[in-house]
Amino acid sequence: MNGWRTLFPNAWYVTVREFRSRATSRSFVVGTVLLAAIAFAAAQLPVLIDFAQGTSETRVEVFVRASGLPSDALTVVGHVLNGAPAPDSNAHKAYALSWLADGDLASAQSALEQGKFDALLIIDRDASSRDLLFTLRTDMPSDGRQAQTIASATQMLAIEDGLVRAGTSTASVLAPSSFTVLPVSPSGTAAVNSVSQEISSSLLSTGLIVLIFMAIITYGTWVAMSVAEEKSSRVMELMLNATTPLQMLAGKVIGNGAAGLTQYGIILAAVIGGLIAQGPIHQAVLGGSSSGVAFGGLNAPVLGAFAVLFVLGFLLYSLLYAALGSLVSRQEDVQSATSPLMMLIMLGYFMSIFGLQAINDTWVRIVSFVPFFSPYLMLARVSVGRVEIWEFALAVVFLLVSIGIALVVTARIYSAGVLLYGQRVGLRQILTAARVSR
């Protein structure tokens, strides 16, 4: 059959033309620049949050009238209010403490009234019981987060004070207890994921799945649009004489796909650049480094699986987009014609988001082999790190086979569809046309 004559060089010429016309279009250039700028800005969000929080520091002045406080009283209170001291002492603190061991209460009170502080904590000692007494002067709500946190800090200080008076070592209050976590099976290895690892790998899977999802929807639509455009501008008939449907199809999918990946690459580069720039920007704006973003779980196998599943998934869906695009006469109809495909893509997306919560369930394992969904679900399983090599290989083989089938079917629909003009195309017409055309 003519449709199966050699792909090259014509498929390559079509690819180059599609890529060029897409990548030099105004919408592509503007879109890429805009999205890259947004991506770069979004990467600075943590700086913005820190900046916003920087001004919402709670300033507490502590006035000590009690005698014989434990020597590390300031450390204990600070520890409870601001958490364990970070390795980087410049890190943002929620509470600023100013410790007045001597001085007069009147000046402390007037500083409070002038608004130099948000709260004044007065520490007394009961004359008879020798217990510490705490008074907090503030206009912040008494059951608010700040008042409650300060209350816990005073509680800790009171316990420490009690221990010191009882003659116990002061170090014990802050010293961590001996606490070991072991897997359920006594013979299991000790490599238990930490919470932050679990969270970051699940965040990573979600992120990668969203990346695939967005790429398929956005750039798949480009393929459908470009087919419909060719049909509505009637270049199609010239092209049909010059090339085979298969050559056109391959060129369109690869050319538009490459343009899409170029845009994607630029946007991702902006994100990564933004994340790298985040430290210096934080330093410049706020003085002090940011908490930073950790790419937990991002390693070579996950990236490799992502690349493979991304490309194969994109190819499979783009072929279907091209087939549907060939059935409409005008670009305006592309959206409605491709909506069934959109449903399928959404279904895969939601299944993978739910599947992430139940990654070991049987249905997730089964669906992760189904070609239309494996780009999402197999990726989810890989990124959480619970896949055997053969399982991944099997999913890839299934994907490749279904791409082959999609290519044959799509080429037929395409060569039939491109000559159907101005009629609403139903399934029967497609099948009839696909049978009688070359």
């Binding site: 016309s21 501008s233 009637r234 199609m236 008939e237 010239l238 010059a242 000559l419 009839t432």
Partner: protein, 314 residues
């Protein structure tokens, strides 16, 4: 050495687009495909190009089936004109030529040559959407011939061209014909057919109603036509009273009448001389293709039966 269409039929659900059509076209010949809208001209061309498949029948070029003939044998100018709107003229012509296997350098040289010949060399770097319809049509014609095809199929190539551009295109036709190419085109313009075509076929509702050399087709009726004009008498009222003579056209330039079979057209001349008319023009000829067309196809069918794509309003 010929293009042979052998009894092809094609049905689109309820419409019989082509019904047992057989035609033969020879190299170095310009062939006219005539027919009302929906007669099957576009479908026939698409089937020759193997864009569509017939239900039955075969097409052969030099004895080889069209499905086995290299694609660059054909040049095609579709009825519905289309170019890549945003692409520069030169770029897209080179693109189309490359698809047909022409080397990029040669493609560019050929393109510039043709743009020069069609008097639009300055359009090479313009985008297609910036060109007028007529100029776009010339670009499409160039796209159809850049790869030097042996057979050129053109659907309504003259529609929408002004007389100057039509003359340029006719010139190109004749040159290609002289280089031994086979040219097939469809049209409604009978004068163009008479001027350019050696052979024609008239299609009606998917059937060939008349076909063959233009001269034979015009003689096939057995009737003859006289054209005359008389000084000072544009009406020539007496003409209608002659036996076997039927006036078909009364124009300011001349009057035309058909002389039925068995009557002598020279009788009209004798009648004129007998009336002492001052004849300015007298001509005996065969019926025009237009007359034959109308005789076979009837009045141009106004009901839309076309299967070719309609322009879609954007």
């Amino acid at each position: 050495m010929s293009l042979t269409i052998d009894s092809i039929s094609k049905r689109f659900s309820e419409v019989q687009a082509l019904d047992d059509v057989s035609l033969e076209m020879s190299p170095g010949e310009v062939f006219g495909l005539l027919g009302a809208n929906g007669a099957g001209k576009t479908t026939a061309m698409r089937i020759v190009l193997d864009i569509l498949r017939p239900d039955s029948g075969t097409i052969a070029w030099n004895g080889k089936l069209n499905t086995d003939v290299p694609r660059d044998t054909w040049g095609y100018l579709p009825e519905e004109r289309g170019l890549y709107a945003k692409m520069k003229v030169l770029d897209q012509l080179v693109f189309f030529a490359k698809l047909h296997g022409v080397k990029p350098k040669a493609a560019e040289r050929e393109t510039r040559d043709w743009l020069e010949r069609f008097r639009i060399p300055e359009y090479a770097d313009r985008r297609a959407e910036q060109l007028s319809k007529g100029n776009q049509q010339k670009i499409q014609f160039i796209a159809a011939i850049l790869h030097d095809p042996d057979v050129l199929l053109m659907d309504e190539p003259f529609t929408g061209l002004d007389p100057v551009n039509a003359a340029l295109l006719k010139e190109a036709f004749l040159e290609l014909r002289d280089r031994g190419k086979t040219l097939v085109f469809s049209t409604h313009q009978m004068e163009t057919v008479e001027e350019l075509c050696q052979s024609i076929a008239i299609l009606d509702r998917g059937r060939v109603v008349v076909g063959g050399a233009v001269r034979d087709v015009r003689r096939s009726t057995g009737r003859q036509v006289v054209r005359l004009s008389v000084d000072g008498d544009p009406e020539i009222a007496w003409l209608a009273s002659l036996d076997g003579v039927r006036v078909t056209r009364r124009g300011q330039d001349y009057t035309e009448a058909v002389v039925s079979q068995g009557y002598d057209p020279e009788a009209v001349l004798r009648a004129a001389l007998a009336r002492n008319c001052r004849l300015i023009h007298f001509e005996i000829t065969d019926p025009s293709l237009e007359e034959i067309f109308i005789e076979h196809v009837g009045q141009i069918d106004t009901t839309e039966r076309t299967l070719a794509p309609k322009a879609v309003r954007a």
